[in-house]
């Protein structure tokens, strides 16, 4: 049944077979794209025609590799910038929110907290269209009433950042709160009794304690932004992020360069996952 109890062979091996099948199911798509990124053919799939690095480096009219495909590199660059801005904003506001909800009581706190965690259960498409409608409304209002025409209210880089930040801050808040709950409030009280102001004690005592969680929140929100499609698609302007670019290529013009990008992403994420696992072990 469990580690400490004797198990019948049927239970033991039956379970093992199921778990193996599950992990094959889980990893099969990732292995397939990774291997086929090196396939010497213009089809995205089998048959295997031999090994090549063309889909990374080639720069011909028939074969445009990842590092020669300027549109693709551009969308990757936009995604990285978006993710950096979104993660920075989300981590700052998420940390502030977790400090607010954990250490203060105030009127309408429960209602405010309800809105803060609502993005967990609001589908991303709804956030996307509401923010699009909201910003268009504000932009139009400013234009007609005050004669100010601000580009920031139209689809584009900053609207994508804000749209993703609307839910990113929620996740950052929850990750930081999980660590803040383990914080010993006496440390802060000691600082306060030594004449530190509330903000000083938060800055010098609480924030350093939260550092691993803040870093974790940054990484998590960065990756969330980098992979986001559902919210982004409504807010994106003429410069697509990587997932938006991938989507239109999968729909309309698949070449193995998609496998090459996918392979790079699989590789990056695997490295990040390994590093974060080791960091967690070290922190324990």
């Amino acid at each position: 049944m469990i580690r400490s109890l004797p198990n019948s062979p049927l239970y033991k091996y039956g379970f093992r077979v199921y778990v193996t099948l599950f992990f094959i199911f889980l990893l099969m798509p990732l292995i397939a794209v990774s291997v086929l990124a090196f396939n010497d053919t213009s089809a995205i799939t089998l048959p295997w025609k031999g090994f090549t690095l063309d889909w990374f480096f080639a720069d011909t009219t028939e074969r445009l590799g990842l590092f020669a495909d300027e549109d693709l590199l551009r969308s990757i660059w936009i995604s990285l910038q978006t993710a950096f801005m979104m993660a920075t904003l989300s981590t700052i506001v998420g940390t502030i929110a977790s400090l607010l909800f954990e250490s203060f009581t105030f009127r309408f706190k429960n209602l405010l907290y309800f809105f803060a965690i609502a993005p967990l259960v609001i589908p991303g498409v709804i956030l996307g269209i509401s923010i699009l409608l909201g910003s268009t409304f504000v932009g139009a209002w400013l234009d007609t009433h005050l004669g100010i025409d601000l580009e920031i209210f139209g689809p584009g880089f900053w609207l994508v950042v804000l749209g993703q930040f609307s839910f990113g801050a929620t996740y950052a808040m929850l990750l930081v709160s999980a660590r803040l709950k383990k914080f010993d409030p006496e440390l802060e009280e000691a600082a306060l009794s030594l004449k530190a102001t509330r903000l000083e004690s938060m800055w010098y005592i609480t924030i350093p304690f939260l550092k691993p969680a803040i870093l974790g929140a940054f990484v998590v929100t960065f990756l969330m932004s980098f992979a986001n499609f559902n919210t982004t698609i409504f807010l994106v302007g003429s410069d697509p992020t990587l997932p938006v670019d991938l989507y239109s290529r999968i729909k309309f013009s698949s070449t193995p360069v998609l496998n090459a990008v996918s392979f790079m992403i699989v590789l990056m994420i695997t490295i990040v996952a390994i590093i974060s696992t080791f960091m967690k072990r070290k922190n324990r």
Binding site: L26, I44, I96, A97, L120, I129, L133, A227
Partner: protein, 282 residues
């Protein structure tokens, strides 16, 4: 102003701005827009909602999507529960740590890449079809892609990890001694699962179900890329209104209906299980 108050406002203002500008205001606007005609006239009307009920394609798609989302949630539970139990209770923590790492990788890689992976696997000349042909098991490609089966695989794949992780979290707090005691007293495995493990993991199951349901009902990529022409998905209607026909007000009404159904289902799940929304994120 004393230091305490200053600190409070220093923290309160950014949070209030975030929630007011990016959560509350846009949803009010969504609600109001759904009652405006697309002509731009400044009047309120029910025409966007009556269009939904008048055209069977809309409400059928809506019902189809909601029932599919419930089905995929149940499927995700059935597939995930044994995995969560195995990782927490059966194998050694060391192996379990490694398998956890494998679980998290597809989660962070993101939906576009993993769904694309399934296109490569399931396609007419995909890895699975070509391998079966190579082995001589089939002569002609099986119709594996662009149907409800491939769509279900995609939806399950992108959502099941959100079921496994909360169940694992609750399972970790289950004392092995409980299972040992029940087993010593002659309880069968089935009884142990039914009477001890599942009730203990219930909060995790509910959390996981809520997240999976929300992700599936709001998903666009898996139904759009892997689904067939007959796989009707409600988010596709929303996308069409916003990005093809540019009838934003109609799209707002659809969006609002989607928000209602997903909130109502989540509220019901919380109500039936006696849980609070605060706990969903834990």
């Amino acid at each position: 102003m004393d230091g305490n108050k200053k600190a409070f406002y220093f923290l309160f203002i950014p949070v209030a701005l975030w929630l007011f500008i990016l959560i509350i205001l846009p949803h009010i606007d969504l609600f109001l827009s759904s009652f405006k005609p697309n002509s731009g006239e400044d009047v309120y009307t029910l025409e966007n909602y009556s269009a939904f009920f008048a055209d069977p394609i809309y409400w059928r798609t809506f019902i189809n999507t909601a029932s599919y989302a419930i089905g995929v949630t149940l499927l995700a539970f059935v597939v995930s529960f044994p995995i969560a139990f195995y990782l927490v209770k059966v194998i050694s923590p060391k192996v379990s740590g490694f398998l956890m790492l494998l679980l998290l990788i597809p989660l962070w890689i993101g939906e576009l890449v993993t769904i694309y992976g399934w296109v490569i696997l399931l396609g007419e000349q995909g890895v699975i079809n070509e391998s079966l042909k190579f082995l001589g098991l089939i002569d002609h490609s099986l119709p594996l892609i662009y149907n409800n089966l491939s769509m279900t695989i995609g939806l399950l794949y992108m959502s099941m990890l959100f079921m496994i992780i909360p169940i694992m979290t609750t399972m970790e707090s289950l004392d092995d001694a409980m299972i040992e005691a029940a087993s010593d007293l002659g309880a069968s495995k089935w009884t142990v699962f039914r009477r001890i493990v599942i009730p203990h993991a219930m909060p995790g199951i509910i959390n996981g179900s809520i997240i999976v349901f929300m992700l599936v009902i709001g998903d666009y990529v898996a139904p759009n890329i892997l689904g067939g022409k007959s796989s009707l998905w409600f988010t596709e209607q929303i996308y069409n209104q916003f990005l093809s026909t540019f009838n934003w007000n109609q799209g707002a009404a659809f969006g609002f209906l989607l928000l209602i159904i997903s909130s109502a289902t989540i509220w019901m799940a919380l109500r039936l299980s006696g849980q609070k929304l605060d706990k969903v994120g834990d």
